[in-house]
Every structure is written in C-alpha cells, then in structure tokens.
C-alpha cells in the first residue's frame, strides 16, 4: 500500500515538474509576447493529452518513460510539441525514448496539420495508387513548371498489392494551383528502408497501398512545411487586432449637449437632466466644505448665476 502511495506521489511530482512547469513557462512567454502560437491551438489541452500519452509510453525495455527519462528531456519534448502546435491525442506526434532521452516525433497527421497551418495547403492531400494495368499518363506542364496528370484510368481488378507501380499525391494550394508528388514503388521502398522496420512491419505488408499513400503525402507536405514562413501565425493575430480596432458598436449612439438643454431628458436614455440638478447642488455643498474654498466659492457663485 505505502509503496503504491509513494509511487503515485512520485508520478504526481513528475507531472508537476514537467507538464505544469511547461504550461507555466508557455503562459509566461505568451504574456510577454515572446511566443506566438496558432490561434486555434490550445497548449493546455495538448499538454494534458501529452501527459496521458506519456503515462502509457514505455522505453524499449518496457520501463515507463516518466521514470526512465530525464526530466529535462521530457520538458524539452513537451515544449517542442507546443512550438510545433501538435497534439498527441490526434496522433499528430509521439514520444519516443532513446536511452534516457525522451524525444518528440512528428507523425503523419501532424505533418498534414502543419502543412495546412503553415504551408499554404488548403485541404488534406489526396493520394492514388497506380497499379499495373492502369492507364496512367503524366507530363510536364510548361506553363506552371509542374508535373500534370493527364490521364489515370483505373480498374478494380487491377488492385493488387504485388502490382503497385507507384503512387501520387495531389496537393491543393492557397493560390489555386496544384502540386503533384509522384513516386514509383522503388522510391517508396527506399523511403521505407529508412524506418526501423525497413518496410517489413505488418502494416506495410497488409496495408501496402495505405502505407504508400502516407509516404507520398508526407513527402509532399514536408516540402511546404519546411519552405514556409510564420506568416500564417502573424496574419492570424493581425486579424485579431483589426477586429479589436473596429468594434461593431463604434460611433453608434449620439450625444448632443445642446439637445439636452432644451428637452431635458432628450431621447438618449443616458441623458436625464432633471435628476442631475439636485445632485449638482449636493456637489456644490461638498465643494464649500473643502478646506481651501477660494475657487470653490467662486464656483458656486457662478453656478447660482447660471440657475
């Protein structure tokens, strides 16, 4: 019992020293204007999600990462996640332990999210597999300098994991143009060999078409993420400022000091002349009670003249 209790306390302590510390730091940075996060990203939610993910994550030799990894590396990994605006619950990133060092790794969905957020990609790219037997023609479009798919006639009976010739992704960009990322199977295989499973995981074997699409889409997105600037973040915030600058209720009600004189209350609900006069007398009394009354007296005299 006591051991369990102390273990719980230990976990709580790690949470305070990592997740809570990062949140405090992020808030500080944001308040000082030292950090600008995308408008639609909640670092609080992402950190909470990250903590639950961390509790489940283990090192290679099946130890919980929150015990095995240094607090410094956990903090850094969490901070990196926030800087990139990712959320582990959406499978946008994962935490992987290398020895006692925890690292944040961007995942496939994170790559697409970033391409959409920063890279000028307007919707999730679509990918298609080219099977043996498909009629597939592509060429260079000399006007746009981009590769163009001229024709891709598919047949249901062509679908066969052993007959994949290649795969392409269509990326729709903000400026209305399209980018085609095309890879043949040999290129895809090479890319897979960079991974730990060398393309031999059950997923690669059983869902080869889906893995091909992921590879091509990731490659297409990376180009747009890495070549982007932070304009999208800054523009978003600019929008906020402009909203604040021109609120909808600007220059709405009218105040007319002259109209008040004639009609008393006027039409403006704020203006109630009759109520104001007795109040004014009280004020004058107060005035007289003030220690240095030279100007106060004159003030009340003038006031009485006015009456």
């Amino acid at each position: 019992m006591t051991q369990e209790k102390s273990q719980l306390q230990q976990i709580k302590k790690v949470q305070e020293e990592t997740v809570n510390a990062v949140l405090i730091r992020v808030n500080e940075f944001q308040n000082n204007g030292q950090l600008t996060l995308p408008k639609d990203y909640s670092p609080e939610n992402a950190l909470k999600a990250a903590w639950f993910t961390l509790l489940e994550t283990q090192t290679r030799d099946k130890k919980p990462v929150i015990e095995a990894c240094t607090k410094g590396s956990i903090t850094n990994a969490l901070f990196e996640m926030i800087l990139q605006g990712l959320n582990p619950m959406k499978k946008q990133c994962a935490f992987i332990a290398y020895g006692n060092q925890l690292q944040m790794q961007r995942e496939y969905h994170g790559t697409i999210a970033l391409a959409k957020r920063f890279g000028g990609v307007i919707k999730t790219p679509i990918a298609h597999i080219i099977y043996k037997g498909d009629e597939f023609k592509y060429a260079l479009n000399k006007d746009t300098d981009e590769i163009e798919i001229i024709e891709h006639k598919m047949k249901l009976e062509n679908i066969n994991h052993d007959n994949i010739l290649g795969c392409y992704a269509i990326v729709n960009l903000e400026d209305g143009t399209k980018h085609i990322e095309l890879m043949n199977m040999a290129q895809i295989q090479k890319a897979w060999e960079q991974g730990p499973m060398k393309g031999q995981s059950p997923a690669h074997k059983n869902f080869k078409d889906q893995m091909c699409k992921k590879t091509v889409i990731s490659r297409a997105c990376k180009l747009f993420i890495s070549s982007s600037d932070d304009g999208s973040i800054i523009d978003l915030n600019k929008e906020n400022t402009q909203k604040a600058l021109v609120p909808p209720n600007a220059n709405e009600k009218t105040i007319d000091i002259e109209a008040e004189d004639v009609t008393g209350a006027g039409t403006d609900e704020d203006v109630k002349e009759p109520e104001n006069i007795p109040e004014q007398k009280e004020q004058v009394k107060e005035e007289k009670e003030m220690p240095s009354s030279a100007t106060g007296d004159q003030f009340s005299a003038n006031f009485n003249n006015q009456q």
Binding site: D261, F299, N302
Partner: protein, 246 residues
Amino acid sequence: MLLKVIGSESLGNSYILQSEEDVLIIECGIKFIEVKKALDFDISKVVGCLVSHVHADHIGYIEQYLEAGIPVYCSEGTRDAFKFKKLSRPIIRQAGKAFMVGNFKIVAFDVQHDAPQPFGFVINHPDMGNLVFLTDSYYSKFKFANINHWMIESNYSDEIINSKVASGSVHYAQANRVSTSHMSIQTCQDMLRANDLSKTKNIVLIHLSSSNSDSRKFKEEVIRLTGINTVVADKGTELNLNLKGF
C-alpha cells in the same frame, strides 16, 4: 475662449480652456506650476479640473491642483483606483448627465481604455460652443451632435506601428496593448467620418505618440478628409476657440 496646450503626450497631459470670466483645466498630468505660468499666475478664475482616467500622465500631479483649491472632477472608478487621501470626497459624476462647472456645461461619456471607468467629455461654453474632448480611447461608442471643436486622440498610425513590429523595434505585445487602448489616426478619421462636421470649426489632434506617429502627415490627412482647420496639440500650442470674431 483660448485653448492652451500645456502637454499632450504620454509624459504628461494638461490643457487649459481660458475665457474672460473662467478657466477650465483638463487633466492634471503636468506640474501645476506649468499651468500657473500659462495663466500668468492668476488662478483665481480657475473653476475646476476634469480628469479622464487614473493613469499617471493624466492624474499624476492631482495633489498640487487640490492644494491650490481646484476642484477635480473624475469618475468614481478613477477615484477608487487612485488611492489618494485628499480625493476621499471628490465630485463624482455619472456618464451622460450634464453638470455645470462655472459657465462650462459638461457631459461625461464612457471611453474605451485599459483603466477603470475612463471618461471623455463634451464641454459647452457660451463663448466657444461645444467641444468634444476624447483621449486614451481606442474607439468611441458615441457620435456627437452640434460639435464646434474636437480634441481627439490620434496616438499612432497602423503603418508605422506595423513596420516597427516587423523591424523589431516595437514589441508585438506592446503594439497589441496600444491597439486596444489608444486611438489610431485611422480610427480617428473613421470617427470624424461618422460624425456630422457641418458646425465644426477646429480639430485638435491630441496625445500623439512620440515614436509611433507622424504629426505632419496626420494633420494633412485630417485636413484632406474634413477640409477643417486642424491643429496638432504640441506643447505650448494656443488656439482661439471663439465662435464669434474669427
């Protein structure tokens, strides 16, 4: 009626409206001695001082004004935020209700600033007609009818501040604060556009930022927009606000 600008910037604000019979001070963010100098040391005609809000560049020297026996008018919010003993029994006004200070008839109205209950003022005097005093407000909820003179903030220009943020000389957070507490020349122009200026004789641009404004350009822009005499309130500026005898 003569408008005298004692100071109109974030270092300190004070303005004098001086007629033959009475003098009204607006803001006490500058040493009282400067007001005395501007009045040739005759403060017997001063009927009161209006304070817009609790920030030091508008209220900083209130003690000196109160010691000179000048009643200071401010909102309840300003009074509460400014924990100054001698202001424990101030004159509290409510927005939208007219009151008299000497021959000045005054209506306070709410403005939009990062201070508790900040006010702007519409001031009427037989000599000058109606004047709007609007400072430290990033926009105005109100329009104003029959206004002869405008004293209106044009603190910064979007262009200048954006280019400074881009170059890094103004911090983003600072720019953000400014844009939700002070009026830009663009908003100022929008406001003038929204109002009927047929009776307006003078526009005084006040509270220009020392670094994020361009007084010559601001003045030109407002003249081009309105075709009305426009003055930038530099320290020491004097302007005749009389309705007659122009």
